[in-house]
Amino acid sequence: MNKTLRNPYVYLLFVLPTIGLYFLFFIYPVLQSVFYGLTDWDGLTPAKYIGLGNFEKAFKDDDFWISVKNNMYFILFSVFVQVPLIICFSLLISGVKRFQGFYKTTVFLPSILSTSIIGILWQFMYHPSIGLFNKFLGWFGVEPIYWLADPKWAMLSILITNAWQWMGFYIVLVLAAILAIPKEINEAAEIDGATGFQRAYRITTPLIMPIISVVIMLSIAGAMRVVDIVLVMTKGGPAGATEVMASYMVNKAIKYGQYGYGTALSIMIFAIALLLTALYQIAFARRQERVEY
């Protein structure tokens, strides 16, 4: 019995392919990044060791920190705008009896379209002359806004598109958690005279905190790696207003051939992500029960 489950050959057979691929595409690139991050490699001539020079440069590189700030906008928008909306709409959908399936299907719909197609589509929504937004504002006599071309608006425009794409995905997750709550709890509260709003606020919301915590975590992870929607919609413009960490890093390495500096930036991004994870654990997750996801 135990012998069967201790068969080392089978164990290796089951574990090694994963570890191999994982090592090749995660661990080895990390080591490589550290190695190249300490050099001035330009992709064409042999790399030269320059110590922490790239990191010193990164700390003084204003453009990089602007891109970091833009990623933070994604996080803040997710946590303070998307998450409350996600909770509201999940509660609403869970409360209705008719059309529940229809709502669920529809809100999830954007999640299955690919980001670049959504980017192209929304470029037209933001189009100064044919776009929905300006047509709508035009009825109220508002001058056309150059959503994606005005540094003041471009970031917000992308954040809205990003929310449009992903909110449904999270709503479906949260909704499943709400529907998994035993009915008796709510029924008992109803008998005690709690209104619908009170029940949602006092009973359901606390019960779904674990999944909310997961949604926040996934949003942060998503915000840290966001790049495709920016590349498709604004290419980091106007005048660098929507540049994010990943696009800045890729640009440095590929367009300007600064592979050494680019990989150093990737290590910086890694460090920022670790820092955020730690902050998140301290601020939020520790108060929650541990959830397996």
């Binding site: 290796l12 090694l16 392919p17 570890i19 191999g20 691929l21 090592f23 090749l24 992709g43 064409l44 001539t45 453009d63 100064p128 056309p144 150059y146 959503w147 994606l148 071309a149 005005d150 540094p151 471009a154 604004t234 290419k235 413009g237 106007p238 005048a239 660098g240 207003a241 590929i254 367009k255 300007y256 051939g257 592979y259």
Partner: protein, 465 residues
């Protein structure tokens, strides 16, 4: 550890076996769509080109990266297609595998990445200058074309390929030449009683009139900074003289000189006054062209390669016969020759240094066919591309009125000046692009923009020493 590595390798191979079953194998003996190699083109000078035994010709692919994407480029694409067809016919087994990629993506993303990886296509669109062609040549990524040029006897046929030369060797060949200047929509000008401007004052008065009528004065798409850079490059030359580009590049002149700042200031003034397309930072080069074609803007600052767009059968046929061209007028207080025009021969083809004999033969045929008097003349006639080779002027005919205006304005020029990007290192060009967009977005003053660019230039010059 070793065992682990072996397993990794086995896994990878195993997976590859699975996947190759899914992915179509491109090396199957696919029926060739190209015309079978035939010795038809008797004009070919080297007898080795013609196969004596047609049997058992091994097929090989020659990757060719070009930038003739979309409707606007179709004349150029047609010429390229012909050249490829001819070359395939001349070199037995050669199959040119064409890969079309949009210009700036190829130039700034794809090609640099491929150069670093060491796997560029065999033939590719290439820009010269220290940031691109010369840098790749120094890293031994480009094929030295000097022997091929000697063999084909066309070495002295080119007017100027200096931006592709490193240590006396030629690494790229300009496909054509271009000037950058003002295009105008004569219908719009007429309707608003505007004469074709001869001075800067008249030009600015025209902008003001159009703006007052609710017409965009200048079509502009500055999402990619190289587009507004064209106008800024010419403005800087007007204010600071036609030798400013070379001067900044070798350190003898500075971006911080008051004349250069004045050029930035003039551009900034035009931005502030609203002379450019609204939302220009969100519009790309094609969008800019489209706006002008749609008759929504009075002027367009662009290169002469744009001329064919306004042909009878071009995408801009709506404006056929209604477009004129003039060089940037003189500016008051400008240094140096105020008639100088921009003249670039910085874009063409480069070739990978990693080629075998077969591929080399294909490259030779490609060069021989493309860089010929015939195509130079046709490019001129059909496409408005100024020749990069010395072509018998009698063959350079064009019934295109815009072309005659370009030729007249170029003939009137005392000197020519290049573009910054063909002379300054990559990081400086990058800073230029950044500061130009900052200037447009109102995030940088003219002084600050010039200052920042000079800083990067200084550090590049210091690194050279």
């Amino acid at each position: 550890m070793k065992k682990k590595l072996i397993t990794v390798l086995t896994t990878v191979t195993m997976l590859s076996a699975i996947l190759s079953a899914c992915g179509g194998n491109k090396n199957e003996a696919a029926p060739s769509t190209s015309p079978s190699p035939s010795p038809s083109e008797s004009s070919s000078p080297s007898p080795s080109d013609t196969p004596s035994s047609p049997a058992a010709v091994e097929r090989f692919d020659v990757s060719l990266r070009h930038i003739q994407v979309g409707e606007l480029q179709r004349f150029r694409k047609a010429i390229l297609d012909e050249v490829v067809k001819k070359s395939e016919a001349e070199v037995p087994g050669a199959k040119f595998e064409m890969d079309a990629i949009e210009d700036s993506f190829n130039r700034w993303t794809k090609l640099p990445a491929e150069m670093a990886a060491g796997n560029p296509p065999k033939i590719f669109d290439l820009f010269g200058g220290p940031a691109e062609g010369q840098k790749y040549a120094r890293a031994n990524k480009l094929l030295d074309l000097t022997p091929i040029l000697d063999e084909l006897g066309i070495k002295d046929k080119f007017t100027d390929y200096s931006t592709f030369v490193v240590d006396g060797k030629v690494y790229g060949l300009p496909i054509g030449a271009g000037s950058e200047g003002w295009f105008y929509n004569s219908d719009i000008l007429k309707a608003n009683n505007i004469e074709v401007p001869k001075t800067l004052d008249e030009l600015e008065a025209a902008f003001e009139t159009l703006k007052g009528k609710g017409i965009t004065p200048i079509a502009m798409g500055s999402q990619a900074a190289w587009v507004p850079f064209m106008l800024i490059n010419t403005l800087i030359s007007r204010y600071a003289g036609p030798d400013i580009q070379a001067g900044v590049a070798d350190g003898s002149r500075k971006m911080t000189e008051p004349e250069v700042v004045a050029a930035f200031a003039k551009y900034g003034e035009w931005v502030k006054k609203g002379y450019f397309t609204k939302g220009e930072l969100g519009i790309d080069y094609t969008g800019q062209t489209n706006e002008f074609i749609a008759g929504k803007a009075g002027f367009l600052f662009d290169g002469t390669w744009r001329i064919s767009t306004f042909n009878e059968d071009g995408t801009g046929k709506a404006l056929h016969g209604k477009v004129g061209y003039f060089a940037m007028p003189a500016v008051s207080g400008g240094k140096g020759d105020q008639t100088a025009v921009n003249y670039n021969q910085n874009n063409g083809y480069g070739f990978s240094s990693d080629v075998n004999d077969n591929e080399k033969a294909a490259i030779k045929a490609f060069i021989k066919n493309l860089y010929s008097e015939e195509y130079q003349a046709r490019g001129f006639k059909e496409d408005g591309v100024l020749p990069s080779m010395k072509v018998d002027p009698a063959k350079l005919t064009s019934d295109n009125p815009i072309m005659s205006e370009v030729l007249a304005s170029n003939a009137a020029a005392g000197t020519v000046f290049p573009h910054f990007d063909s002379l300054v290192p990559g990081p400086v060009n990058g800073e230029f692009e950044k500061q130009i967009q900052n200037l447009i977005a109102g995030k940088a003053s003219p002084e600050k923009a010039a200052d920042e660019i000079q800083k990067v230039m200084d550090s590049e010059l210091a690194a050279l020493k």
